[in-house]
Subunit: 336 residues, 2 copies
Amino acid sequence: MKVGNQTIVFKNKPKIIGSYSVAGEKEGYGNFKEYFDYVLKDDKFGEKTFEKAERKIIEHTIFKAIDSANLTVADIDLLVSGDLLNQIISSSFTARHFDSTFIGLYGACSTMAESLAIGACMVDAKHFINVACATGSHFSTVERQYRYPLELGNQRPPVSQWTVTGAGCSILSLKGKSNIRISSATFGKVTDYGIKDANNMGAAMAPAAMRTIITHFEDTKSKPEDFDLILTGDLGKLGSEIFLDLMEHHGYKLGNNYNDCGQMIYNNNQKTFQGGSGAGCSAVVLNSYIFKKLQEGTFKKVLFAATGALLSPISSQQGESIPGICHAIVLERSDD
Amino acid sequence: MKVGNQTIVFKNKPKIIGSYSVAGEKEGYGNFKEYFDYVLKDDKFGEKTFEKAERKIIEHTIFKAIDSANLTVADIDLLVSGDLLNQIISSSFTARHFDSTFIGLYGACSTMAESLAIGACMVDAKHFINVACATGSHFSTVERQYRYPLELGNQRPPVSQWTVTGAGCSILSLKGKSNIRISSATFGKVTDYGIKDANNMGAAMAPAAMRTIITHFEDTKSKPEDFDLILTGDLGKLGSEIFLDLMEHHGYKLGNNYNDCGQMIYNNNQKTFQGGSGAGCSAVVLNSYIFKKLQEGTFKKVLFAATGALLSPISSQQGESIPGICHAIVLERSDD
């Protein structure tokens, strides 16, 4: 396993000058209910289809994140976004409503980190002034696209995770007031340990998380203890255990400063089995709880490592395994 | 229509130190047969499915592009790639074979320009040394995913284009020998004029091409005459006419230095109606004919503006129109 030379240390440390999170009804009963900016009363958000609802959630989140930065839509120079739907239609159709350039990504559930890493590169290099980074997912669009129609009422296996309905958006800039900055980004490598079970995505993504996080430590000469929180994207409970085992196998014993967005988002009574997943999972946790704890000063340095499972129904049908990826950024609190 | 402030002018002007193109059998009978590096004898490329063939074509193209730059796989620090398949599986699965970081994109048929623009930003900022930018498409995967199963034998409407089977890859670096450089990039805005006919993608993408190209002229204070070639991605014949009309309407009369990859790739006897399309279309034209003409000195400055139609079958079924996007880069010949 070759690691190293994947980390960008930002000279100008782009600030997060605005953020917003919208969560679904079920997520609103979970562990972060007081932290979400808005909780849906109706998962269709007044739309006719779940796909249109997903798009509206992402749109609404971006508009509100721009507001929170005391900017107007016209101030946003670049939108970096992706989602889980085929041809990232939620993001592309959302982008019609913003008169800004658009970089469309596909990074599965790693999208929040991928978009922040690319956005931070653009802001750091002063190519664009204000950049919106966003993603989201919807339980009902993802289930029917990746697995089975909801109407089938399929039984969920115990290793499965529950796709989060929700979206998050962060506004990056060198201007404006904020005490949260992105100090570095580590882009990940596609890693495939041969997992073929499309219900066990935590296991498929854990090796990628291990690789990116070890790379980050080696590239920046940092240690797990340097972080108040090392947060993986959505490995879920089982995936997190596998990740911790893999880390230990490579000589890194993580302590209480490790957690996982998928593991954290729901409470134990919500029958989600291994926890949350979906591009929206790490997006809503980051843009609510994590940023608030950074603002308050509870956290000073967070390694946010969002993970993605790069499968499609076609690849599964053709007998392929599930490659994983993990992109990471470091968030630091500094008095502005 | 707000234009401007979307162009990045590169300080270090990343060089294109290697490139490769693989084209399908049909494309091998078209106008650029002598320019393609490799023409397939069998569109399945020895694989069992068209999807596996598409992936193998992209993989092979990247390996050969690395060879052409006199580098090894281990020298590549970053792969920036996307494709038309759901969840960009061709790119993600390809990335398993390269021990490099991976940025997955979705830009539909604009991917070649999107990947080069992002790759150039990364090389220009010295975040990565050698970056591979790649994309491709396959007629048989795209038809069955976006439109109908091939076995149905549906009649193609006269406004349709033919999805190119092929892939292209360019290697960017500040090191190495090359007389082709990327001097600037203009990221595009999502533009939707309300076209709903999924067979008439040229019309859907033409407004985006017009907007990005005018933005490029305004941002860089350049004129159409400054370029030896202004090349749109794959508007096809009808789309190119619409594009020229839109440009004229905005005060830009383009002359003989304008052409379109979709319009150029096939000859008139190949019954492709409006010409070529697909992410592979502009990728193979750029990585064969265009680079060779730049190397020879026939072209000194080329504006390459790849266009993408951001539809999905789901968005069409739900009555949506087709948003378009166009990303552009400027290629300049300079004696190394």
